[in-house]
Symmetry: C2
Subunit: 388 residues, 2 copies
């Protein structure tokens, strides 16, 4: 029987998600000469609609170029299939004579694969290959896409700290991250010493209080004459809701098919800036919301991230041969390699920052977090200490 792999990409793109796609295609063709490899456009929507790209005939050179291109080349989707939608996906997979379906994405994507696997029986292998800049998949030491985005964040905060030494003031950079603060902590990855920014880090894992925030900033400004802050877009209020949900009138809140409130707008930044103006009226304060800039940025593609993403894709083909499951990047014996874990252990679960990755006050990273970042996001520049 001819092996037929269907591959799709789901959720927010990353800088290296096409590495995983290319890795799967190359491995599938090597392992099963003559195999068909079909790419579904816009995730499961392409399977439902029979909208496929035949990837079988691409040259190695074309696939390497594809791999080096950021963001989901097949298109992505935020569709969250219900039972009826899953039926149409299964029908689409069977019409395509799929023997395996590899879906590259985050924990929502893993959840979709689990629903499909449960409904399908054993004639198709369902594989989830990991991808997310949020680094929030359980079972994974880290996820493909995280390191490249972290390089962007780390470099941005190096530049901003130097900028706000030259022209002092308060700076807040707001970073993507709904429930997990990993990417926000990357702001401190290249911090050379305690006196350099970011001086304060706020993540969704700790309740955020505007009053405490202002006092934290005041203390840093009085000590260093400036204050650099990294803040997750998903910072959470005392009531457990995101600060954005509390800020934006409910008729203006946007939600996706997964029920997630849109956090990437300017509302949090405007509110933080106003809080700083009110609380510290004499100090110049600037807030930037990084938005979409970190996640698929062509200027900060990490070679390590690219390699690991490619390997995760190649391993997904091995995982299909073993009946399916979720590919997880694990760190064992000083090296990262992909392993196979059950879909159920990843699906719909969120990995949070370990408790000990923050200092007890919750507003700076700990030595444990710094060691993790130094392993994954090593500094790529030697810089001089400024004279101010």
């Amino acid at each position: 029987m001819t092996e037929t792999f269907v591959i799709a990409q789901g959720g927010g793109p990353t800088a290296v998600i096409n590495q995983t796609l290319a890795g799967a295609v190359i491995e599938a063709r090597q392992r099963y000469p003559g195999a068909r490899v079909l790419g579904a456009r816009h995730g499961v929507r392409g399977i439902r609609d029979g909208n496929f790209v035949d990837l079988s005939g691409l040259t190695e050179q074309e696939l390497r170029l594809l791999a080096a291109t950021p963001s989901a080349a097949l298109g992505s989707t935020r569709d969250k299939p219900d039972a009826a939608y899953c039926e149409t996906i299964l029908k689409g997979l069977r019409q395509a004579a799929a023997t395996a379906f590899i879906y590259i994405g985050g924990n929502d994507t893993a959840g979709t694969q689990q629903i499909l696997a449960d409904a399908a029986g054993s004639d198709i292998a369902f594989v989830h290959a990991p991808k997310t800049i949020d680094n929030d998949l359980v079972e994974n030491d880290h996820t493909p896409g995280f390191i490249s985005a972290a390089d962007f964040i780390a470099g941005a905060f190096v530049g901003v700290d130097l900028d706000f030494r030259a022209l002092p003031g308060i700076y807040v950079g707001i970073v993507m991250g709904r429930h997990a603060g990993f990417l926000t902590t990357a702001a401190a990855a290249w911090q050379p010493d305690e006196e350099s920014g970011p001086h304060l880090v706020y993540v969704p894992e700790r309740a955020f209080s505007a009053a405490h925030f202002i006092e934290d900033v005041r203390a840093v400004v009085s000590r260093y004459g400036r204050c650099i802050v990294a803040m997750s877009e998903g910072v959470t209020a005392q009531d457990g809701r995101s600060v954005v949900e509390n800020l934006v009138p409910s008729d203006r809140l946007e939600r996706d098919a997964h029920g997630n409130v849109r956090l990437s707008g300017g509302d949090l930044g405007m509110a933080i800036e106003q809080a700083l103006k009110d609380g510290l009226p004499k100090v110049r304060a600037r807030v930037d919301t990084f938005g979409y800039l970190p996640r698929g940025n062509v200027n900060t593609i990490s070679p390590t991230d690219a390699r690991e993403a490619f390997e995760a894709g190649a391993f997904a083909v091995e995982a299909a041969a073993r009946g399916g499951g979720s590919v997880a990047l694990q760190y064992v014996g000083g090296a990262t390699s992909p392993r196979l874990v059950p879909l159920a252990s990843v699906a719909g679960k969120t990995r949070h920052l370990p408790d000990n990755f923050l200092v007890p006050e919750g507003n700076r990273i700990s030595a444990e977090c710094r060691a993790y970042l130094q392993r994954l996001v090593p500094k790529r520049f030697e810089l001089a200490k400024p004279f101010v």
Copy 2:
């Protein structure tokens, strides 16, 4: 007599402004063995206050590390000296026994040098060395700092276009630039074809109309299914004032010592997003304000920009020997090199995008602009064409 160079940095930092500083120090010491080189902290403020760093004894290695470090290592200032302030600066320069004062900055900085030169007589040579990400200095083909910032912008828009192919919608990226749109046009520097973003470009040189903007976006969305927009923070309303000035209540407007209204906040982005929601309610729309991320970013330091900035600093020492003036990067016979021009020809003047750098409709770059960008900001990546 011992030569004594005083060097300072003014205005917004760039990724390569310390190259210019290091170039001046190295050249001064080579040309005048035993010369003293003093760096003034925070621009002319450091001269007024006698707050100097002695740069004479730094090793070549220390200076090379300094050169590679973004943002003004001496600190910067936005002070705009009046006559009395200029007197204190001259007094400070004479107390330091300065024979030359090299001030690295934009057109405001050149203006300060001209006032000082007029007041001082001929015992001190006043030199302006160019620096600005805005690329808005007359007499210059381009300015040190521009190319690195342009690399950031060009790469950002490549990533965003791919992102919004994967998950379609409207994206607006707001880019620094008060009166000149050069940096905003760099969004199109690596655009592979017309179908790729940015599809629309709005700069301060053309009157901005929200109604026309919405119709422009609507047309692109209906053609390509998405729309990527690059917009200058300084876009100008029909009445000649910046759109931000018209949006923000006057009691909330911030102004610097030069009378410039602060444009870098989120107000424009929020207003643009609301206009898109109102005008195209069914299309997902996202707006990012790039803010401080492009200007001193350690991840996008261009080697060309670094070299040219260094050469401008070295040439500033030659300019001092010739009695002072403004260093200008000129493009002659297929090569860029620094030339000496009078301070008066640069001081306080703004170079705008040439008329022919935009198409007649004013909302896209022209072939002339593209040729200029391809010369200065050549593409650094080969990428695949996505399947969507």
